[in-house]
């Protein structure tokens, strides 16, 4: 359903203490930026729940509401007209906002903004990947070698293998750039001319991909040794992609401003893509690949003793954020080759399961249905060892749960290292990990400790959300929901304009048999009476409510081709003055066939001495010459 800009603006205004509480207002490509006089008048919780507001954050005095490209300007216009506030420019607002949020907080929020829209894709993939990989490890099933596995595994890991593309598109939207150029940058970063990023530490893979023998990834030398590009891709990466798209959007906006409009279309996109590609692959890329090498080397050293394992357990989710965790397979493979026991896996499992615990705690505790509906499936995926949805979509956004997960992971990893068990394979963690661990009992202990601690800390420390929910929520009336209604089967009246279904179940009689002179004579139009067998009147066709009687016993509905209907419950029931009736709609509401309109109490109607027949009339039946009544 299209967003009602006016309503959105009104709700925003209502929840920030009205126009007089706004010092200045502006919007950028995605956000409504407001400088607020008195922050105490802002109902943050309610703002987040306003239909159309996708998210919000504050940077000391500047309240930013994420509304979305193409929508924000319309909401902004309405906002200005609703509140009478002077429109400012983005820079005015920035200047008006004296101080800023700490940069790291803004960055976390940005990552969250990028990830929230793409969560459905990665939750679907995460859950499927967890299940498929678990099935493949079940001994004796032979699923791992089957065509079904190959097929399902491909489908499942698509969103992860090509994650940079999805992330890039979403990031371009957040940063206000062209999303298709963003897509190009994302695609470039996993181009098939580059070695798959998951294999950058795998010597054999490097050798076979490039046809080399030294296990070193070749570079393109663009300007001697000064400007080189390492031919490795960014599969599974997040941060380098977001940085790349951030650069891209900056470049694009600068060019749009400075390039003459006549040549803008061919100069700007071309230059944007080229500059971004070069900067990303030449500078950003190497920084990350160096970081990756360090992390990998560090991880190898850390896991040799329990304290190191503890640290690794804490840092593990941070490496997931950077997309480095896909390379740990190399460590695990090395361990298996060396000793036959993969002691890395319990650490990864503890870290992942702790994120599961934290995410689950958020999901169970949070009152906001939007957050809940993200947190619960994300935690399931995390329990299966795929933690990206939980980390990006939930824990990192609220931050405290993420830290709780780090603590849980650290303690779980410490216990695991002290117990000294491991796995006999690699690739799965969490619950599927049971299929590969050498000691299921000890594994259970580790999971319970890691998950339990993270859950408990989150449950007790992470509170703000529930405090805010108690604040009164100012909301405009709910719009009619797009719900599927059961359309009644029986057609009672038909004419050239359409069919009118029975608004209530029961025995149908022609209008001439309704026990009332006015109805009987057809003064209010032709139609039927229905002796009801249930007590709910539903809409007989898709249409708009044209009137609702104050005494709640009758509604008028306009339908296709100006069909006008009156549904009048009982005869002379106007005298009951609403007692025994409940109306669910008001004049002007759009309704769908089958949607409940009135609930009535047959006992009360009878007790008041009235027939309870539901009069169903086409009031403008004179306008049609082919009205048929079906009894």
């Amino acid at each position: 359903m299209a967003l009602d800009y006016r309503k959105c603006a009104e709700e925003i205004a209502a929840n920030i203490g009205g126009g007089e509480n706004v010092i200045s207002a502006a919007h950028c490509a995605t956000r409504l930026r407001l400088v607020i006089a008195d922050n105490a008048k802002v109902n943050k919780k309610a703002l987040e729940n306003v239909d159309g507001v996708k998210g919000m954050f504050e940077s000391n005095g500047q309240l930013q509401l994420i509304i979305g490209t193409g929508t924000v300007n319309k909401v902004f216009d309405e906002f200005i007209s609703v509140t009478g506030v002077q429109a400012g420019t983005k820079d005015d607002v920035k200047a008006a906002a004296a101080a800023k949020q700490p940069i790291w907080k803004q960055m976390l929020k940005t990552i969250g903004d990028v990830f929230v829209p793409i969560l459905p894709a990665i939750v679907a993939s995460g859950l499927m990947m967890g299940l498929v990989e678990a099935l493949a490890k079940v001994p004796g099933l032979g699923f791992g070698g089957s065509d079904w596995f190959a097929f399902l595994d491909t489908v499942a890991n698509t969103a992860f293998a090509y994650l940079p593309v999805i992330v890039a598109v979403s990031a371009a939207r957040v940063f206000g750039g062209n999303i298709f150029l963003g897509g190009v940058i994302g695609l470039l970063m996993i181009h098939s001319a580059f070695l798959n990023g998951w294999n950058v530490a795998n010597v054999d893979a490097i050798n076979s991909f490039f046809g080399v023998t030294d296990g070193i990834i070749p570079k393109w030398h663009l300007i001697g040794n000064l400007v080189t590009i390492q031919r490795s891709g960014y599969q599974g990466h997040v941060i380098p992609v977001i940085i790349a798209v951030f650069i891209m959007c900056k470049v694009e906006k600068w060019l749009h401003k400075h390039v003459p409009e006549m040549i803008d279309l061919f100069v700007t996109p071309l230059t944007t893509v080229l500059v971004t590609a070069l900067v990303t692959l030449w500078i950003v890329g190497p920084i990350f690949s160096t970081l990756e090498t360090w992390v990998l080397a560090g991880a190898k050293i850390l896991v040799r003793n329990p304290l190191g394992a503890c640290a690794m357990g804490a840092l593990y989710p941070c490496t997931v954020v950077m997309g480095l965790h896909h390379m740990y397979n190399v460590i695990e493979a090395g361990m298996l080759a060396e000793s036959g026991l993969n002691t890395w896996m319990p650490i990864a499992s503890a870290a992942n399961f702790a994120q599961f615990g934290a995410c689950l705690a958020v999901g169970l505790k949070v009152a906001n249905q939007k957050t809940k509906s993200v947190a619960i499936p994300s935690s399931l995926s995390a329990a299966l060892g795929i933690t990206e949805p939980a980390i990006f979509g939930v824990n990192m956004r609220f931050f405290k749960p993420f830290v709780a997960g780090m603590i849980g992971g650290a303690i779980g990893s410490l216990v695991a290292a002290l117990l000294g068990f491991g796995a006999t394979a690699y690739g799965v963690t969490g619950i599927p990990g049971y299929l590969t661990v050498s000691n299921p009992m000890q594994y259970t202990i580790v999971l319970l400790i890691a998950g339990g601690i993270a859950f408990a800390i989150t449950w007790f420390i992470w509170k703000e959300e529930t405090e805010e929910t108690e604040a009164p929520v100012v909301k405009a009336p709910e719009p009619v929901k797009e719900v599927e209604y059961k359309v009644p089967e029986k057609t009672v009246i038909s004419c050239s304009a359409g069919e009118i279904k029975a608004p209530v179940e029961g025995k149908v009689v022609p209008y001439t048999e309704i026990p009332d002179e006015t109805f009987k004579q057809g003064i209010l139009g032709e139609g039927v009476g229905i002796w009801p067998e249930n007590e709910t009147v539903v809409a007989p066709y898709d249409g708009e409510i044209s009137s609702v009687a104050e005494s709640k016993h009758a509604v008028g509905i306009t339908g296709a081709e100006d069909m006008e209907m009156l549904i009048h419950v009982g005869v002379d029931t106007v005298e009951m003055n609403g007692d025994g009736f409940e109306v669910f709609v008001k004049a002007g509401d759009k309704v769908k066939a089958g949607q409940p309109l009135i609930k009535f109490n047959r006992e009360k109607i009878k007790a008041a001495g009235h027939p309870d027949i539901v009069v169903t009339l086409l009031t403008n039946s004179d306008d049609y010459d082919d009205v048929k009544i079906n009894v």
Binding site: T518, S547, A549, E550, V574, N620
Partner: protein
């Protein structure tokens, strides 16, 4: 165009039945359009649903306007109707 004002005395006001009768009557004058005004809302009296939606009750003053055709005859018929029914 001719008009008259009328104070509704029927306790229930213009509910379904009188609205139906009024709409029927309003449609019956050839070449004449009948408007009914309550407060700042004006509807065609022949439009049953809009008429009902005004929620006219006892104590409300309504204005009836007729336009076109035999305005005097229509006005007389409407006045008689209102006095009898409302």
């Amino acid at each position: 165009m001719k008009e008259f004002k009328y104070l509704i005395t029927d306790p229930i006001g213009i509910h379904a039945r009188p609205a139906g009768l009024l709409a029927k009557l309003a449609k019956s004058f050839e070449g004449t359009t009948v408007f009914l005004t309550k407060g700042d809302q004006t509807v065609k009296a022949s439009q049953l649903m809009k008429l009902m939606n005004l929620g006219v009750k006892a104590g409300d003053e309504v204005t009836i306007q007729v336009e076109g055709g035999d305005e005097d005859a229509a006005l007389a018929a409407l006045e008689a109707f209102l006095k009898e029914n409302l």
